[in-house]
Amino acid sequence: MGVDRPLTDTVYVTDLERMINWARKSSMWPLGFGLACCALEMIATFVSRYDLSRFGMEVARPSPRQADLMIVAGTASKKMLPAILRIYEQMAEPRWVIAMGACACTGGIYKNYAVIQGIDRHLPVDVYIPGCPPRPESLLEGILQLHAKVMKEPSFRNPRKTRIKAAP
């Protein structure tokens, strides 16, 4: 058709859902908070050597209202749990959770009364990253896995709802 030719390589046709997913995964802002030593590896991932901004994620938000992704980086103690749940509740939908490191995944070496034996007891975890602590490459791999997951979500037809038990 006549209108095609001038618009070649300037207009792309896709479906709305894929477009939304692409926008979400391309600027997924993480919440800037760390709980233990994993936070240092997370910081290393942010800075220039590993450079998380390659994936549109360099803007760590101190406010949960503006964040899309919670990276639970480190040992979550039971005393900390109400604060973590409160922060998660304050994040706007849609929101994702990465459990970074052995402690956040399973409690790690801290098999005792003071530490939560895996943050997935209380939060809906999307990606688990093993390691103690995981190297920045591992975190990047986990984030790319999350991006791939976001691209497959039925974000428009069946938006995800993540409800958790309210923090006391």
């Binding site: 039971k78 749990l81 109400p82 098999k111 005792n112 009364y113 003071a114 006391p168």
Partner: protein, 168 residues
């Protein structure tokens, strides 16, 4: 003063009724006093001009289960004035009708406040006349005393739950 002469001075002042045991091990003297006299002994150790233990380094507990008396309180003292150290112990027992208890030394050294609160929650020992008998570190809703020898490594969901039980 060296440790042995401090021990001798205590014994001369309070007698064998109060000073139950004096142990010399690796150039360090440990004196076990009867639990009823702990405040009197501590006050003497602080106020005597030769001893002048003006700094309480630490208060801690030991669970000697299944021995009787079951618990041991340990007071580590230091004198900034004379640069000497000393260790005082007291033993308390626990039974069905009498929970373990000892008089608080906060009136002698205010710094004992938090040390005693931690010892109280970890071992379940009551400090009589304590000005602020709340828990220090553990969640309010826990009933367990984690440093007791009969406490399981992880605790149970009953006595160390992640979150407080919902009301009603």
């Amino acid at each position: 003063m060296n440790q042995e002469s401090i021990g001798e001075k205590l014994l001369a002042t309070f007698g064998e009724e109060t000073i139950e045991e004096t142990v010399l091990f690796q150039d360090q003297v440990s004196v076990t006093v009867s639990a009823e006299a702990i405040v009197a002994v501590c006050r003497f150790l602080k106020e005597d001009s030769e001893l002048a233990f003006d700094f309480l380094s630490f208060v801690g507990g030991v669970d000697r289960y299944p021995a009787t008396p079951r618990f041991e309180l340990i007071y580590q003292l230091y004198s900034l004035k004379h640069n000497h150290r000393f260790r005082v112990k007291a033993r308390v027992d626990e039974s069905e009708e009498n929970p373990a208890s000892i008089d608080s030394v906060v009136e002698v050294w205010p710094t004992a406040n938090w040390h005693e609160r931690e010892t109280a929650e970890m071992f379940g020992i009551t400090f009589n006349n304590h000005p602020d008998p709340r828990k220090l570190l553990l969640p309010e809703h826990w009933t367990a005393h984690p440093l007791r020898k009969d406490f399981p490594l992880e605790g149970t969901d009953e006595d160390t739950p992640d979150l407080p039980r919902e009301q009603g």
